[in-house]
């Protein structure tokens, strides 16, 4: 089984690090990171990705806008997107799913189970 290639878009570098370490050590996946929506889109266009972990609350271009942009672009629209959100549990989930996300993970997340959560959302294994 090929290892997965994940792009993580989050403006917090610490969180990027934690996620990256978790995904690589536990999941054995490859992780690319981007600090902003724009950077993320650029990355997505230039790499083959199995999934994108997308933070909701980002300055400038937030998660929702980023998702819309990714979905609007033919080269990136088929990449599954999983949101990471620090907002409270209840409401946003439906809205986020309605936008086309395939998963919502709440912060703080457990990096040791992050890969299995993502697999669960996307039906891997």
């Amino acid at each position: 089984m090929l290892s997965k290639q994940i792009l993580m878009i989050d403006d917090e570098s610490d969180i990027q690090t934690v996620a990256r370490i978790g995904l690589t050590i536990v999941g054995g996946w490859q992780v690319l990171t981007a600090n902003s929506g724009r950077e993320g889109i650029a990355q997505a266009k230039s790499h083959v990705l199995d999934a994108i972990l997308l933070d909701v609350m980002m300055p400038d271009m937030d998660g929702v806008a980023t998702l819309k942009a990714l979905k609007a672009d033919i080269s990136t629209q088929s990449i599954p997107i999983i949101f990471l959100t620090a907002k409270s549990r209840a409401i946003n989930r439906k809205e986020l799913y309605a936008l086309g996300a395939q998963g919502v993970i709440h912060k703080p997340f457990d990096p040791t189970t992050l890969s299995s959560q993502i697999s669960g959302f996307l039906g891997w294994d």
Binding site: D14, I21, I25, A86, T112
Partner: protein, 747 residues
């Protein structure tokens, strides 16, 4: 009318002029032999004197009668010899005229001639003659009066007639006067008094009075006239105060009740009833004329038509000085007066009756009037009270910034307050009677229409809506419609619209704050927690025992922090109404099972059994996520505080008392055999950060907000939450949730 003369029965000529005898001729003295001497005899004084038809008397200077002619003789009954040498005032004149006569004589002696006067002579038989005299004095050469020749004509009859005529006239006049008075005046007392006074004067008797004999009470003196000239014992008796006055004794009156007119000329005569003789004698009455007065009877139920006249009383004239004859004229007058009095009495009674009726009617009218006035006052008071309360309503509602209105079933405004003017820029008085769709914009009308209709079906609604004011300004409004139900029918609705833009803005700010806070808190926490988690795997290098312990501690506390943040934010958002619960019909069994499933890992960790007691297939009207949250909180507590190996039970049921009541809530319970809750903390345990003792939170990892969140959730579902516990033996936490009902209502 016929009349009886009061003079002796001397033959009279019809014109009343007196004639000396039946003969029209006077025999000449027989001493003359031839016709010549007969003619000369004419000139003889004696013959002339005695031939004269008038009375001729010759007086000397002392007033003594020298000659007394034949006419005098036949008139008076005295012969010349009887009177010669006497003065006329000795016995010829009636006493009343004597002094006057002497005066006249003196005048004549002083030379005043041709005086004309009348005097009344007394005839031998005591009869009176009224004579009109004219006098001539005979003087000698020296002018001294030697003789007086008086020539007179008897005018008795004329005087009598005149007096009679006068009397008749007075009577007629009196009768006419009384009649007129009766017709005009309604004052019975006045009429009665006038009658007796006038009659008394007319008849010239001592005492005229009217007695009234009412049927059920004693005789009463109705009117009285007493001559002021009455002297002697009669007077004092008459003046005796009643009721001791013998006249008022009933036998006196009774005597006359059955009679018609009673005429007593003299007490000695026949026909004077013995029973009244005493009375009359007591009063020294010599003559009496009593006439009954007939009038309608007194009756309380008023005058009946055609009622027969009954005995009312008596009109009585008494003469006490002496007996007198009552002339037919006088008797007739009394009868006529009695009739008039009867009429007057009838009038008076009728009037009284009418007056009574008028009084009664007036009283009734007054009462009706007063009642009307009272009702009017009442109505005015009610109206003014209504107006006042309407005014107050306006004052109050106009002071409110919210829109207050009453809309009828046809969507027309029936009342609206002043605030409508500022919202819609229309003078607020112009809104009444207009349709809602006229006043609000089309968009808004479409928004509110379903709620309007819902309210007009009888259901209160409250909702929020964004509206545009006439100025273009957008605002958030909270709108409530409350149906007005009278006699089971919806007549309209009360509308309350308040501007909640501020609140919305505040909520939005709070919302943002909460978002920001949650994001800001969770972000670093993610890094800390994530890092520790990764370190604890051991894949990044192993730590010794103490090192691992420290990592564990750090991890545990970051997890606690996370939970705390979640709980705090949850609670704040819930209590500010930000979390809108969207209730659906949930299967109770599903809820219990899901909660059990979610908590199974934790139960396993603590070695606790989770069990669901037999539960009926019930449904509740609730937001499933929140109910889950509550259940899991309760289960978490139960697991934490239960001794190892024990069981935590869950159940849902309808409470025993009124299971069939329509709006009965379903009762959930979570039971454990843990350490329980002290009785003084059974209420406070649901408050934020309340712990049974201080060691709890740290040991068990709780945030202190779990039960507070449960309570908030349950209360938002309009349920109740409580705990029953015996300290040391365990606790059972209960909460209730509503069942789905036929008509939905917003929570």
């Amino acid at each position: 009318m016929a009349f009886l003369p009061l003079l002796p029965k001397a033959p009279m000529s019809s014109d009343g002029a007196s004639t000396s005898n039946t003969d029209s001729a006077v025999n000449l003295p027989s001493s003359s032999a031839t016709d010549e001497s007969a003619h000369e005899a004419i000139l003889d004084t004696e013959t002339l004197l005695n031939a004269a038809g008038s009375l001729i008397v010759v007086f000397d200077r002392q007033g003594k009668i020298k000659r007394f002619n034949r006419t005098c003789e036949t008139t008076t009954g005295y012969i010349e010899k009887d009177v010669q040498g006497h003065c006329v005032w000795d016995f010829l004149l009636i006493p009343e005229d004597r002094v006057a006569m002497q005066g006249i004589f003196r005048q004549l002696m002083n030379g005043q001639t041709n005086t004309y006067y009348e005097s009344t002579w007394l005839g031998k038989a005591g009869e009176t003659h009224v004579i009109a005299w004219s006098n001539t004095v005979l003087t000698n050469r020296l002018g001294r009066v030697d003789f007086i020749v008086s020539s007179g004509i008897e005018v008795t009859q004329q005087r009598h007639s005149r007096r009679q005529l006068e009397g008749q006239y007075r009577q007629s006049h009196l009768l006419a006067e009384i009649t007129q008075k009766v017709r005009q005046s309604l004052e019975l007392e006045e009429i009665l008094q006038t009658t007796v006074s006038e009659v008394q004067g007319l008849l010239g008797c001592d005492h005229v009075f009217i007695l009234q004999a009412p049927p059920e009470s004693s005789v009463r003196l109705a009117a009285e006239a007493i001559t002021t000239l009455a002297q002697g014992p009669a007077q004092s008796l008459l003046r005796r105060p009643w009721p001791t006055n013998p006249l008022l004794q009933s036998d006196y009156v009774e005597h006359y009740r059955r009679q018609s007119v009673s005429v007593i000329d003299t007490m000695d005569g026949p026909g004077v009833a013995p029973e009244i003789v005493d009375i009359l004698n007591q009063l020294a009455v010599k003559s009496e004329l009593a006439v009954p007065i007939l009038a309608h009877g007194h009756s309380d139920d008023g005058i009946k038509a055609g009622q027969k006249d009954g005995f009312w009383g008596l009109l009585i004239a008494h003469h006490c000085m002496q007996s007198r004859r009552w002339s037919p004229l006088e008797i007739d007058l009394m009868q006529q007066l009695a009739n008039q009095i009867g009429v007057a009495i009838n009038h008076a009674q009728l009037l009284e009756h009418l007056e009574d009726i008028v009084v009664e009617r007036t009283a009734k009218l007054t009462e009706t009037n007063q009642q009307l006035r009272r009702e009017m006052d009442e109505r005015l008071r009610t109206e003014s009270a209504l107006r006042r309360s309407e005014k107050q309503l306006r004052l109050v509602t106009n002071a409110l910034p919210a829109l207050v209105a009453y809309v009828d079933i046809r969507h027309r405004y029936r009342f609206n307050n002043y605030a409508y003017e500022t919202w819609y820029d229309i003078p607020y008085q112009q809104i009444k009677g207009r349709q809602v769709s006229d006043i609000v914009s089309l968009e808004v009308y479409q928004q509110i229409l379903p709620y309007l209709e819902q309210a007009l079906m009888g259901e209160s609604v409250t909702f929020e809506s964004e509206m545009i004011q006439s100025s273009g300004q957008r605002l958030w409004a909270s709108i409530s419609y409350i149906p007005d139900i009278q006699d089971g029918q919806v007549k309209g609705l009360f509308s309350l619209v308040s501007d909640i833009s501020d609140r919305k803005a505040a909520e939005r700010m709070k919302d943002e704050f909460v978002s920001v806070v949650s994001h800001e808190l969770r972000t670093p926490l993610t890094s800390v927690h994530g890092s520790l988690k990764l370190l604890s795997t051991g894949r990044l290098g192993t730590l010794n025992g103490q090192g691992r312990e420290l990592i564990d501690i750090a991890l545990k506390n970051t997890e606690r922090l996370t939970r705390l943040i979640n709980d705090v934010l949850d609670l704040e958002r819930m209590s500010f109404g930000k979390v809108t619960l969207v209730p659906v019909a949930c299967s109770v069994l599903d809820l219990l099972q899901s909660a059990a499933d979610a908590m199974q890992p934790m139960a396993d960790e603590y070695n606790i059994q989770l069990a669901i007691r037999p539960t009926e297939a019930l449904s509740v009207w609730a937001a499933p996520d929140q109910v889950m949250q509550a259940l899991t909180n309760l289960l978490s507590n139960a697991i934490k505080f239960s001794p190892e190996g024990s069981t935590v039970w869950m159940q849902a049921r309808l409470p025993g008392k009124e299971p069939n009541k329509v709006d009965a809530h379903v009762e959930f319970l979570v039971k454990d055999v843990g350490r329980g809750v002290p009785s003084d903390k059974l209420e406070t345990i649901f408050e934020r950060f309340a712990q049974v003792d201080s060691s709890d939170a740290r040991e068990r990892g709780g945030t202190g907000l779990g039960l507070a969140i449960c309570r908030e959730i349950i209360q938002q579902h309009r349920g109740r939450i409580w705990v029953k516990s015996i300290h040391g033996q365990g606790s059972t936490f209960y909460f209730t949730l509503p069942q789905p009902t036929a008509s939905p209502s917003a929570l």
